[in-house]
């Protein structure tokens, strides 16, 4: 393990774990306050899940909050005193030693140096033309580096070939090596913004997710809309005519040990449905639901619009079968008709909930944070006194605006700790 010299030890530095919307906002605020910050992001891009949200505006804004994320990313890009951000930096341990925290960082074995990268895109071309798909582009123009390496798809080393991206990069910004060593950094305070994980139904599941190609999650739908500007059937790339949303997948389900509401899914799925029907007006969308949670200030307006434009069916379907033409046969109990109905859909979108981030949770527990019944982190006064602050969805489901607000709260808490107030 390399020594503490890897990154210069600075007094009063705050280490922010997680470069999602919460971590970024907290970093911007603490930076404005003149605090020294180091932000550690395990993935190739800052912005987190929120940066992958697509704009869901119809003929007007539906307050999906995508623009707020873009605004934060723009601020990071235009920031006068650039934030010290390290991508590909997975935190594997946090220990308190006297007044300081010692944070162990395990860098990814493949990375692009943000100082050197000029966003030219040569690496992406080289990767693609060699038949690989490990290099990807960021979801926003305000993210630098614009290109990133997906560790799980980067196979040159295991294939024993020399990675073409390295030779393609004129700046020498790319590192792909099995000799990357972990290192340590120190900080006076730790702000944990480790976020959530989107729920993914495990196999086997009754939805057919994983083996029926046209059963996708809202997370996948969000990315598809952001990337391609529309929603298409994975099996044939056609625009679906008949779509079903299934709410509360992985939420409010005691049998799965997930007895909590994920708070944001009603909002994001109904907005998605309204956006889809706006783009393709003859699309038929059915939403299978139990209850509809309030989302945002304008909730009633959107909910009324949803009731007018979508078929809202108050029941969660029981079974999902593969059908001809890769359709999905969904069986559900109709209270209106008082019987079980089987109906075929071109595409089924599972509205997945938010799960605790296990890595973040482990780190939190290591520095004395409590974990609530649902697996999310809870910070108390005693943690704050130790210089540990938690922010954003690491504490439980929140929407983007709530995360931004909470990050500002967290920045104030951290400022007080650092200044000894």
């Amino acid at each position: 393990m390399a020594g503490e010299s890897e990154l210069t030890v600075k007094k009063d530095r705050v280490i922010i774990v997680g470069g999602g919307i919460t971590g970024l906002t907290a970093a911007l605020e603490l930076g404005q306050m003149g605090k020294d910050i180091l932000l550690l992001e395990k993935g190739p891009f800052i912005g987190g899940h929120a940066a992958n949200l697509p704009c869901k505006a119809t003929d007007r804004c539906l307050k999906c909050n995508d623009c707020l994320v873009e605004e934060a990313l723009r601020q990071v890009r235009e920031n006068n005193s650039p934030l010290e951000v390290k991508n590909y930096a997975k935190v594997t341990g946090i220990k308190k030693n006297g007044g300081n925290f010692i944070i162990t960082v395990e860098p990814s074995w493949c990375s692009i140096d943000q100082e050197k990268c000029t966003d030219c895109g040569a690496c992406l071309e080289a990767c693609l033309s060699s038949g690989h798909q490990a290099i990807t582009h960021a979801p926003s123009i305000n993210i630098h580096p614009f290109y990133g390496i997906r560790q799980e798809l980067c196979t040159c080393l295991s294939e024993g070939v020399s990675p073409p991206c390295i030779s393609a990069c004129q700046e020498g910004a790319i590192t792909i090596s099995d000799k990357v060593e972990s290192f340590q950094v120190q900080g006076k305070g730790v702000l944990l913004a480790s976020g959530f994980r989107p729920y993914e139904p495990e196999a086997p599941n009754r939805y057919g997710y994983g083996h029926l190609p046209n059963v996708i999650t809202t997370e996948q739908a969000d990315r598809m809309l952001r990337e391609r500007g529309g929603i298409f059937r994975p099996s044939d790339d056609d625009v679906p005519k008949k779509v079903a949303f299934v709410q509360c997948v992985g939420s409010r389900d005691r049998r799965l040990g997930r007895e909590y509401c994920s708070r944001v899914c009603c909002g994001y799925s109904l907005r998605m449905a309204l956006r889809m029907i706006h783009t393709v007006p003859d699309m038929e969308i059915t939403v299978f639901y139990m209850d509809v949670q309030n989302f945002g200030k304008d909730f009633e307006r959107y909910y009324n619009e949803a009731k007018q434009k979508l078929r809202m069916v108050r029941c969660l379907p029981g079974d999902f079968y593969g059908w001809q033409d890769h359709k999905i046969l969904v069986s559900y109990f109709s209270e209106v008709e008082d019987k079980t109905i089987s109906e075929a859909f071109d595409l089924v979108i599972l509205t997945v909930g938010l799960s605790p981030n296990e890595q973040g949770r482990a780190l939190g527990e290591e520095i004395g944070l409590k974990v609530n019944e649902d697996g999310f982190l809870v910070a108390g006064e005693e943690n704050l006194k130790q210089g540990v602050v938690v922010a954003g969805t690491a504490q439980g489901p929140m929407d983007v605006a709530e995360c931004i607000c909470d990050a500002k709260r967290a920045a104030l808490d951290m400022k007080k700790y650092i200044e000894g107030i």
Binding site: P54, A57, N142, K297, A401
Partner: protein, 527 residues
């Protein structure tokens, strides 16, 4: 106007109607700023020793506001007619919403056994004591208004406690389980385990009737498929939330907009979480839309951060180029004053004055000035025209093909980012497309558009933010109206109005940008 003449105050005025105002004031004070706290109702939750450096004016109401961020001149009025004048750098509206009994909405007479949820919650012992002979208790959530998760938490808690008594039968009638607050799903399940009967309504709603001295509940149980009728011994109604009574008056005095229900904070995305249409005025707490106590607490801290950032940033903001008014040209029509969504323009001696601290550099005033007297320093008329010429010359000069020439005026907050993203991703935008960055859709005036046509352009596309996500509140809407007027003008002069297009787009919508432009190009080519 030379900004350096401005006096900058670092005082913060907090306007409250409850102890929440004090909570906010305390965070601002702890963060190092002198606070003036005006509270509408006298109250004993604030004592002088607790207040420290907070100047408390109680009970007082805001009567008048002049000036702008950094230098608000406010007048606060007391009940006896006396007034206090103060200067402050920014203002926080920290009001709580009003909770109103739903009894009248259900058309029920005042009865001892018809209660509001907060009455029961404030003294559950007393409520239980009245039920010593046992009976049926019905809680009603929603129907009148949308229900809230934090009120259902209270219902679950108290209903669960009541149901533990074998002589009590507890029902909760509701439209939806609102379980989005932490732990509420479990609390409701526990209440159910304790014997509370939850009845959900989708297609119908219950009737609550008065029959002599009895209350009668009658409903169609959608789950059981049958009618249910009984006389409960007590009915507990969830209250409805309304904007604080001060909202209308304050919104006029502060020139901040209300949302469609009358709460502080107009329905614009960029007002989230704690901003409004005016720089230097912040809105926190349930008075800007019903939120939980926990969220209000978070906002109280967040606003302390925002206030400090704003006050410390004023010096820098003064140095930023803003608006230049050519006084000789100004016809003193004050149209600029009327359209400015940020309230950055005031008038003194019948001359418009621009506050560089409030100005967001959107250029809406530039677009509406009939005399071309206003110049936005960051995006000067001549620069926009030069850029327009630049992008058009580039492809008009050398090309001999018959592909259409398109100019896109793209808002820097949305479409321009989408364009840059499309370009960076190497997406295929039709060949002769020039994109000019504009500060806001609201900056677009007929002159700019006509200049583009004069340059030999086949089609001008104006791509701005979706309405309600415009950073200048009205910019995008004003832009679409300008385009409508121009459409009429073009038709009258015999030019195909289809050559001028307005649309909206998000900043990450690279593919939508490409699709829009290429679709237009295809249509033009086919003509």
């Amino acid at each position: 106007m030379n900004g350096k003449e401005l006096h900058i105050s670092k005082n913060v005025l907090v306007l409250g109607n409850s102890s929440y105002g004090y909570q906010v004031a305390a965070h601002v004070r702890d963060n190092g700023y002198p606070v003036i706290l005006s509270i509408t109702e006298p109250s004993d939750y604030i004592s002088d020793e607790k207040a420290g450096e907070i100047e408390i004016l109680m009970p007082s109401v805001l009567v008048d506001v002049k000036g702008g961020p950094g230098d608000f001149k406010v007048v606060l009025g007391f009940g006896d007619g006396s007034q206090a004048r103060r200067t402050c750098g920014c203002i926080i509206v920290a009001m709580e919403c009003s909770w109103v009994s739903a009894r009248k909405a259900w058309n029920l007479p005042p009865r001892e056994n018809v209660l509001s949820l907060s009455q029961v919650c404030s003294d559950p012992e007393a409520f239980m004591g009245k039920l010593d002979h046992g009976g049926k208790i019905v809680f009603v959530c929603g129907f009148v208004q949308n229900s809230y998760s934090f009120t259902q938490r209270q219902v679950a808690k108290i209903a669960g406690t009541l149901a533990k008594r074998p002589d009590l039968h507890v029902y909760v009638l509701m439209e939806h389980f609102k379980v989005s607050e932490q732990g509420v799903e479990k609390q409701i399940r526990r209440a159910r385990d304790q014997g509370v009967v939850f009845v959900k309504f989708s297609e119908s709603r219950p009737d609550i009737l008065v029959n002599g001295d009895k209350i009668v509940i009658k409903y169609y149980d959608e789950g059981l498929g049958g009618w249910v009728e009984f006389s409960p011994d007590a009915v507990v109604l969830e209250e409805s939330s309304y904007p604080p009574p001060e909202a209308q008056v304050l919104s006029r005095a502060l020139e901040v907009r209300l949302d469609n229900q009358g709460f502080f904070q107009a329905d614009s995305l960029h007002n989230l979480p704690i901003y409004c249409n005016r720089t230097g005025v912040f809105v926190v707490g349930s008075g800007k839309g019903t939120i939980s106590e926990a969220q209000s607490k978070t906002e109280a801290k967040a606003v302390a951060v925002e206030v400090a950032k704003l006050l410390e940033g004023f010096e820098d903001a003064l140095g930023q180029p803003s608006i230049n008014l050519e006084k000789k040209k100004c016809a003193i029509c004050l149209t600029c004053y009327r359209v400015c969504p940020h309230r950055a323009i005031s008038h003194r001696n019948r001359r418009p004055e621009f506050s560089p601290l409030a100005c967001k550099r959107c250029g809406m005033c530039v677009a509406v000035c009939p005399m071309n007297a206003i110049e936005l320093e960051a995006s000067r008329r001549e620069d926009v025209v030069a850029e327009l010429k630049g992008v058009t010359h580039r492809f008009i000069k050398g090309t001999r093909d018959h592909l259409p020439h398109i100019v896109v005026l793209a808002c820097q907050n949305s479409a321009y980012d989408a364009y840059l993203l499309a370009r960076q991703r190497g997406l295929d935008i039709q060949a002769h497309t020039g994109v000019v960055k504009i500060p806001c859709g609201g900056r677009v005036d007929s002159e700019t558009v006509l200049k583009a046509f004069a340059n030999g352009i086949d089609c001008v596309m104006v791509l701005a933010c979706p309405h309600d996500s415009c950073k200048s509140s009205d910019g995008s809407m004003a832009c679409s109206q300008t385009i409508e007027v121009l459409h009429e003008m073009l038709e009258e002069t015999g030019i195909d109005a289809g050559r001028l297009i307005f649309d909206t787009l998000g900043p990450g919508s690279a593919m939508e940008f490409v699709d829009l432009v290429n679709q237009v190009a295809k249509e033009l080519e086919e003509r």
